[in-house]
Symmetry: D2
Subunit: 341 residues, 4 copies
């Protein structure tokens, strides 16, 4: 059975497995203090051109969001996010567990809009009862979004300007960042993000690693004793090497960018194929997630041969489904898919 | 440089690496719903002889303690532990982060004593102010303890009886369980634990895995929606296969027990060697951690050639240091160590 | 200056002050174990016709919502509320502080609608990703709502039926309950509430008391050790008598109902007066809060002589403002107000 | 029946009741923004000689401890307290509920000792594993302590110096502060406390008020948006006047000091009386709580005519019991007590 169900169905890029084996019996200090972690951090800071930055490795996206957001907010603050944002919908209340509200703004193809953000912040401080309300303490965006869409550099910059004006940090969730950076036409780069975000993470789990996310504080602005905070959340791996080695491999010889580009190439091929056969798209996504409208009958038929994600009901007769490519997608599988639709 | 600094210095047993590679490109469903997880759970339940049990895989010990304890206590309850217990000292407040107090009892070579436990519980309910106090809601023990010591089956049973009397669960932290099960003279087995604990975990991180702990609820008594609770704590791996595959390998062909037995054999050799040369031991540990008293001078000299753990100052002229063996310890390294002490 | 700014501007009904003085030097046990608390609880249970019920006294509305909701939800659950609900907007994140999300439904004049509630619950369980989402664990309604509106008995019953179907409790916030019970045309009574809510509170702070809310669990279904939970939240008064005495007075000789009826009479007079002079109402409220549309100029003029609450901007030239009456409103003040509008 | 069971058995000083009645129908703004709160704050700052200080009113001691400690600690920090400290024993886990550990030091007649505090802090930072442990983030002391004892100015200053050295705040719980300030021989005054504590509270509940504690941040060093934090904890009274008026009365015409002095006079009379009759004291307390050793038979006999607090079992034949005086104690009752012992 063909599968385009998600971008975390396979293990890891084979170079990662090679390196894990190669280094396996080296005796290394624990908790992320080993040389591989150091090297990976250095490479990431170089790529982001933030020499004074700090990098931390965590295990998964929800964990990362929970720890970053929870540790950067004051107790009386919440985090602004698109209503479709992962932190607002699909993290089982991980943010609220840390005592903070998610302040939802309308989403536009998964993105928040600068103007609405500004209006929200202005309105909050104008409200004479705002001291009885949750203060906006951070802005969260995902890039690519949950709908596969991307912010332009201009949009990102605008949001950042608003954040600066209100003295709240901007946090970018890059669970699928590789696929965003590799997308055609994007003008957002790692150095640009380092300049325009207060904190962001570079996703590994969905981009070639067994698991792992690299959190970047571009200005060395991590909360004090961040490592202890990570430990307190049960998120500090004894064998921190496991993350260091993976990111060291991903950021050697452009691997992260190459495998991301492959996923995008596969997505474009898939997109073009569906398009040629007359299918409609629910969203125009330039990244590895493609949202396609199928009739109920098409969906039923296709699901006999291919697995994909059900996204939402469109109307009585149609549904939106998601096809995801990844670093692991084989071109022949895309071709097989296109031959049967 | 020789190193006996800890039992998590190397990667993973090579059979685990082999299996990760072998299965790497299989497309599997996420979040622990894959067949490897299922198979590993089945094997563990068979070994524990608890057909109706439930098994969950988590990433590390602190995370496991936090989630198990946090989810099994009522809001007004705390967890009883030895004052030297990992949850009380070395988890950066992970239990308190979930809103619960650790109620510390005196430790005896790392263990709590049934009589003192009973007295504590009796005293609590007799105190007319107990409704203004934290209710004891669970007993936590580690086995082996942080000092490498073991409960006897009799001691474990006694504690369990007290827990049943007060209707609170008994939780056993088995971060180094393999080394406990393989120790000479122990009468505690997996089926015995399944009968006498309400929940326990089988440690992988320190016993051959890259990372991973297997939580066992022997009576199928996991809190409702435990998987969602795990997600809410940011502890649910997208590629849950990573844990399933590792435990599947560890519990195939007795691997977990064999590699644990190897560590014990190495510890015994080390222990005997130090003993023969006249060294004193701070604690009589039957497991993979050996606590040896060195003069300050001995410590200084030895640390030039061997790395080990500083445990605590004994007196002005002496210290207690820890030597740990593991599944990865090479016999020749033990011999080398013994030749230079 | 006339003031209709809120319903908590004065102290307490004089009968309460009398009783506080009369009982002042009696030596009573602390923490709500005194005879006045017992007597007040008994009276409330009689009025609600719930012999097996439990009653607890707390100090304020936000505190009550926080403790009731926090203690009745499982960790992975959130509370459903109207987006305009007090818990969602004006409690500074008190619910999220306990680790729980507020799941907002659309509001219709401050109320949630049974049909939308049912659809939300149905949709949640149908979503194949719902185990990664916050489970709906309770329904919160306010009665009167923040807009002064009331549920009909039929609406309340419908919501309760849905809750029963999904096995989640229905909680009614009665901060202004007296004014709801005294409103013309309402068919909701205390016994009806006791039958159709799993927990509710009868507000004292805004209805004649210095402070205090009486939480009723009609089926004796309070969470175990609720008093300890209250203590843990810092909400247990040493001199619990202070709440017992007040509620004892309020529920003697129908005082609570009489003073509520007075506030409603004042509100109706005010409403009629504004209506006669051609003012429009933003909401048709049958209770003590009246939401009136003023032109900016009217608002400016009127605010020189009367204080009232700014509610929200209606359009460029108009605003919605709130006039609140209460147990303490003097008829001559209403007349004075009507004479100057 | 005579009662010396506690210092919160009666209502409030009659001047407070007078003032509540006198001001009852004044229409005042809510949430502590009224003129009585302002006036009371001003008086307290004057008495403490801290013009730049900030004062907040809360309802009870546990609430105050929870909010002050919870809002001043970083997430990875705990609060140091005597093992007998109220926050460690009798607040039902209110501190842990905010996510923080209580780090218990040995108690000496209820007090912590500067030397042991210094040793604890030194040891913490010397421990190479301290990043995996709860950081000491505040020192909590009670004055008078739970055993009625007092710190000397010298002891307080020493503790403060240590706190400054480690850059952690010193917090003084003054639930019974009036009785401490009025004790014979004390050299601790309000201005001294304002100089040597980073935050403290002046207790009202046990010293003449219906309820209420006044938190003082002598340097204006309250956490940002403290009022919102109070609201978030459900601790902001709508009728904040209730606290303002009470503290305004207590700090007018030296009332607080006079009624405290009365309690001390009564305690001294009681103490002398017991002493003369040959009773032993468990602790030498200079304040309103006296801890007396009774044989079991004496205890049984006396409890037929007097109520007092059982403190703890001393040995098989004896117990320690507590007699508390207060602002409300009548001299004739003390005489009656002394006549029957």
């Amino acid at each position: 059975m063909l599968s385009f169900a998600s971008d975390y169905m396979e293990g890891a890029h084979e170079k990662i497995l090679d390196k894990l084996r190669e280094t396996n019996m080296e005796q290394l200090p624990g908790y992320g203090t080993d040389e591989y972690c150091e090297r990976a951090k250095r490479k990431i800071k170089e790529l982001c051109r933030c020499d004074h930055g700090e990098v931390f490795f965590l295990t998964g996206g929800t964990q990362t969001n929970q720890i970053v957001i929870g540790s950067m907010l004051a107790s009386y603050e919440g985090v602004i996010a698109a209503e479709s944002g992962h932190v607002n919908v699909h993290e089982a209340g991980a943010i609220e567990l840390t005592g903070h509200k998610v302040l939802a703004l309308p989403e536009h193809a998964g993105k928040i809009c600068g103007e609405e953000l500004r209006e929200y912040l202005r309105g909050f401080y104008e409200d004479e009862n705002h001291e009885h309300m949750v203060f906006p303490g951070m802005v969260y965006i995902s890039h690519p979004t949950e709908y596969g869409t991307l912010y332009t550099a201009g949009e990102l910059k605008e949001i950042h300007e608003i954040c600066k004006e209100y003295k709240i940090p901007l946090y970018l969730d890059g669970a699928r960042l590789g696929y965003g950076l590799a997308a055609s036409g994007t003008d957002v780069t790692l150095p640009f993000m380092a300049e325009n975000c207060d904190v962001f993470y570079i996703g590994g789990t969905k981009v070639g690693a067994l698991m792992g996310e690299a959190v970047v504080f571009p200005e060395g602005n991590a909360p004090a004793h961040f490592m202890t905070i990570v430990k307190q959340h049960g998120a500090l791996l004894a064998k921190g090497r496991l993350l260091g080695i993976q990111f060291d491999v991903l950021f050697s010889d452009d691997l992260y960018f190459e495998i991301s580009a492959h996923a995008i190439k596969m997505a474009e091929k898939l997109k073009e194929g569906f398009h040629k056969k007359g299918y409609s798209f629910a969203i125009d996504s330039p990244t590895n997630q493609q949202f396609i409208i199928l009739s109920n009958k098409q969906m039923e038929e296709l699901s006999k041969q291919v697995s994909f994600g059900f996204w939402e009901k469109k109307d009585e007769g149609h549904a939106v489904v998601r096809f995801a490519t990844s670093w692991a997608t084989r071109e022949e599988d895309v071709e097989k898919l296109l031959s049967i639709i």
